[in-house]
């Protein structure tokens, strides 16, 4: 921690303190699940369905069981008795939601390529792989529901015997007549259809599980590469029928999650059941192909969005209709993902009428679930693309039309038409900073030059102004959305006898740097050095209560719990200090780790000394229990609403269709920041993931339901060679909803960047007549769009060009 001095009362919150997590990760000392050495552990391999939909008519394990090193092999039927309940879906969004029972191994019917049908357990990974290869499964192939819209119209049943592929229909239609009236009276309407392709989360660490029976008491310890050790413990207990208190879940170093490790997976349950059954440790490490097929995927929606606007571009109503691909089964929060976007299809705009509906549909593909942003990237994409179309339709500059519709800085707290209360914001402020950093007017001039010369490399500028809801979530709001858990977070702060501080958090970091940030929060609160604060997490034996890390919740919810707990430590210490100094508690000031008597600063008690006094307990006030420790559980009063403006600049080769992201400006407002270094990193990574959806990534399936992008050679996660450096700016509008004033930044980059990039591509080609573009924006798609637009009449093209140029001149 060399970069920032933290002596005495120097405040560290707000500084770019280097991460304490890094040395172990940089030296190879960090331990991921796969790194744990467990003598005698058996290795599990899963035999997976090669068919999207098939009846399993026989599983012959004879040859596998005869292979060297094989200890056991089981079919789905063999293990059917192990499960007390199907795998959990914690978000039954409607009372009549359909949810086919989902067990760790399919018994009679496999419902996607990758659905497990048998397991082999052997003494080495190689032996398990060899044996899995000779398991003989007899399948009777069934018609598969692959295409989402065909599935929605029940062209083929995703599950035998199900009356429909529709899982649910969820609507948010507060005032249908207002929406109808707005569209009826609109001078301009925009109607767009967007496809949110499925994405593979592709955390660099594949999943891994290692279940060890009775290592240190209890019944089993489950080591898992998970974001949710606490939720997992409860769910494993309920699903495997093991009393919850007998299960300890530990998430060691976890190599990224992005939502994909926010789930309860078949392999976790299988290792648990097999370890109990065989009375030996059982482990499994996911291969990348399995990660593509059997870890949840993200997105997977078809969106229809309509805007009704006045002639000068004021949006009067937004109507959004979504078909969401659930995949074959409902995982932990699958059905709720669209709901996290349902309230945000009007974006940052002050829209008086609003209507949203979503149909969740089963297909015979890998289940979908929350992936970085979960619902909000989809909503932001739809409104930000549609607003660009509105601007083009009206011949207005995209920045100008946004300005015209923003919720004003003076309107906060803002009661949205969808029923939310946006906490705080200054959307135009962020836009101004972003346009300045990007030199927007200069870019428009350059664009105009290139259009006039007709050079093959055209320039496009794309805007995305976003607001998102995160900090999941007020428990009572979750209740209103039928989510079965709460949204609080727990923390404990305790003083050790030597004056060092131990923080226990229910958050479960997997790259976010919580150890660093939480130590900064507590250091400032208690007036101690960050190095004297240790942060414990991700082990249910150490931190029994927690709701884990997802939905950009850890700082605003978990961080708030920590400062509340620290306050309780201070309040107890104050009573002890008052006792020692023989003054009233309210006569004490606390600053820099010491209590001093107001007006008599030399009479003071140090926190470290108070901790020791509380520990030895020789002289405590009447009724005071020994030790200084405070615990708190914080249930947020509202979501938080980060916002900002991103600007993407692309150069498009109109001959080949190649798109080069040449510049990227991001101005984000996440309220108060604890560590801007970490905030920057979250924004960088989020941008890259969102840009990747725009330009490269797609979980592509063939008509039979085979995933075609099963490796990182086919699924195009970008490398450094594909991306530019990013220009970051920030505005600071604290959230009034929590004492930190923090909003959350984990997902903002991903939410904002995808539409910025696609808007930029369309903008580069608009003068050629291109008005739409599907994701990912492949070179071939661009080439086809340019070629298709070239087919239009010359007259039409020149009109468009002129309108664009004049708009550019006026608007920029």
């Amino acid at each position: 921690m060399s970069a920032t001095a933290t002596e005495g009362a120097t405040r560290v919150v707000g500084t770019r303190m280097l991460r304490r997590e890094d040395p172990a990760l940089l030296s190879g000392e960090a331990r991921f699940v796969h790194d744990l050495v467990v003598p005698g552990a058996l290795h599990m391999a899963v035999v997976r369905s090669p068919f999207a939909h098939a009846r399993v008519t026989g599983v012959d394990l004879g040859a596998a069981r005869a292979m060297p090193g094989v200890v056991a092999a089981f079919s789905g039927a063999d293990l059917a008795g192990e499960w007390a309940a199907p795998m959990p879906c914690a978000w039954p969004v409607t009372a009549d939601m359909q949810s086919p029972a989902h067990y760790p191994l399919a018994v009679d019917e496999a419902c996607y390529v990758g659905d497990g049908v048998a397991v082999v357990v052997a003494t080495s990974p190689a032996a398990a792989a060899d044996a899995a290869a000779v398991v003989d499964v007899a399948y009777e192939e069934l018609p598969a529901a692959v295409d989402l819209e065909a599935a929605a119209s029940d062209a083929a049943a995703a599950h035998l015997g199900a009356p429909t592929n529709r899982a649910y229909t969820w609507e948010l239609d507060p005032d249908p007549s207002a929406v109808a009236a707005a569209f009826a009276g609109a001078a301009v309407t925009v109607s767009e259809r967007y496809v949110q392709q499925r994405l593979v989360p592709a955390a660099m660490e594949p999943r891994g599980v290692c279940v060890v029976p009775q290592p240190f008491g209890g019944e089993v310890t489950v080591y898992s590469a998970t974001q949710i050790p606490h939720i997992l413990r409860t769910m494993l207990g309920m699903t495997a029928g093991v009393p919850e208190e007998r299960i300890r879940v530990v998430a060691p170093s976890v190599g990224g999650g992005f939502g994909s490790k926010l789930d309860v997976y078949a392999e976790e349950l299988l290792c648990l059941a097999l370890a109990r059954r065989l009375r030996r440790p059982v482990r499994w490490t996911e291969e990348r192909t399995e990660a593509a097929q059997a870890t949840i995927q993200g997105r997977g929606q078809i969106q229809e969005i309509e805007l009704a606007a006045t002639a000068d571009g004021r949006i009067q109503a937004v109507r959004a209709r979504i078909v969401a691909d659930m995949g074959a089964y409902l995982q932990l929060v699958t059905p709720g993902v669209p709901l996290l976007g349902a309230f945000l299809y009007h974006g940052v705009y002050d829209v008086p009428a609003y209507s949203f509906s979503c149909v969740g549909v089963f297909t015979n593909k890998t289940p979908t679930d929350a992936y970085r942003g979960a619902g909000r990237p989809e909503a932001t994409y739809a409104i930000e693309r549609a607003v660009d179309t509105l601007a083009r339709t009206l011949g207005q500059d995209p920045a100008e039309i946004r300005r015209r519709n923003f919720i004003g800085a003076d309107q906060f707290p803002y009661a949205s038409v969808a029923g939310l209360t946006f906490d705080s914001g200054n959307y135009e402020g962020a836009l101004d900073v972003a346009l300045g950093l990007a030199d927007y007017s200069g870019l428009r001039e350059e664009q105009g030059r290139r259009r006039r010369t007709g050079t093959r490399m055209q320039l496009g500028v794309g805007l995305s102004c976003y607001v998102e809801m995160c900090g999941l979530a007020p428990s009572r709001v979750l209740a209103s959305l039928n989510y079965v858990a709460g949204g609080w977070e727990a923390a404990t702060v305790r003083m050790l006898p030597t004056g060092k501080v131990q923080v226990v958090t229910g958050s479960s970091p997997h790259g976010q740097g919580h150890e660093t940030s939480w130590s900064m929060l507590v250091a400032d609160k208690l007036g101690v050095a960050p190095d004297d604060v240790d942060v414990l997490h991700s082990d249910t034996a150490i931190s029994p209560f927690g709701l884990d890390t997802y939905g950009s919740r850890s700082l605003s919810v978990g961080g708030t719990a920590i400062v509340m707990a620290a306050d309780r430590v201070i309040e107890k210490a104050r009573l002890l200090a008052a006792h020692q100094l023989e003054v009233a508690p309210e006569d004490l000031e606390y600053e820099g780790g010491r209590f001093s008597v107001r007006g008599s600063a030399s009479r003071a008690a140090e926190l470290g000394a108070l901790a020791f006094a509380a520990f030895v307990a020789h002289d405590l006030p009447e009724g005071m229990e020994p030790n200084l420790e405070g615990s708190a559980t914080y249930d947020p009063v509202n979501f938080t609403f980060p916002f900002g403006t991103h600007v993407a600049v692309v150069e498009v080769d109109t001959e080949t269709g190649r798109v080069e992201l040449s510049r990227y400006v991001a101005v984000d407002d996440c309220g108060n920041q604890v560590n801007p270094l970490i905030v920057d990193g979250q924004v960088h990574g989020g941008i890259a993931q969102g840009v990747a959806q725009a330009l490269w990534e797609e979980a592509a399936y063939d008509e039979a339901g085979n995933l075609l992008t099963t490796s990182l050679a086919d699924y195009l996660v970008p490398a450094a060679s594909e991306l530019p450096s990013f220009t970051l700016g920030r505005t600071v509008t604290p959230s009034p909803s929590n004492p930190l004033g923090a909003k959350g930044i984990g997902e903002a980059g991903t939410i904002a960047s995808t539409p910025a990039v696609v808007n930029a591509v369309v903008d580069a080609l608009a003068h050629l007549g291109v008005t739409s573009m599907e994701m990912p924006v492949t070179p071939e798609r661009v080439w086809r769009a340019v070629r298709g637009a070239a087919g239009q009449s010359q007259v039409e093209q020149s009109q468009i060009e002129q309108s664009q140029i004049s708009t550019t001149g006026g608007g920029a």
Binding site: R19, L26, S27, D35, M204, A688, Q689, L723
Partner: protein, 157 residues
């Protein structure tokens, strides 16, 4: 079969299955779990180590091919007294890692790259790391770290 591999300066001789990959040998036989496995297709670079001073993806090298060669892994980068290698230091100072899973491979790739390109441009750094995937950082700070590590020592801090 028997292989003798010098890893981080220490030669050892072991019996391994012929199909053992170098990364498995390092992790399972030598107990050096800092080198990670991120894919099956030589795509992600998480398993990058130095073989005779040059970066290789240890998932695509047989232990048998490394017989009688010298391997440096992430565990071998720090000085004997534990001081981090300048590249490791630069990764921390520039926040070039988040979850840290790609990091050992990224550091080893950077070490080899800087050996071959002591004073690279940003574009060269980006090209030079084309074989290493990171899902957390968006590469911005990784590139900054590698550029900083390339600078003359007085400019690093």
């Amino acid at each position: 079969m028997q292989v003798t591999v010098t890893v981080n300066g220490v030669p050892e001789t072991h019996d391994v299955e012929t199909r053992t990959l170098l990364v498995q040998y390092l992790r399972e036989v030598r107990g050096l779990t800092g080198t990670n496995i991120g894919c099956d297709t030589t795509s992600c670079g998480a398993c990058t180590v130095l073989m005779d001073g040059e970066s290789v993806k240890s998932c695509t090298v047989l232990a048998a091919q490394a017989d009688a060669h010298e391997i440096i892994t992430i565990e071998g980068m720090a000085a004997a007294d534990g001081t981090m290698h300048p590249i490791q230091q630069a990764f921390q100072e520039h926040h070039g890692l988040q979850c840290g899973y790609c990091t050992p491979g990224m550091v080893m790739a950077a070490a080899s790259f800087l050996q071959e390109h002591p004073q690279p441009s940003e574009a060269e750094v980006r090209e030079g790391l084309e074989g290493n995937l990171c899902r957390c950082t968006g590469y911005h700070n990784i590139v900054q770290a590698v550029l900083a590590a390339a600078s003359p020592p007085e400019a690093v801090r």
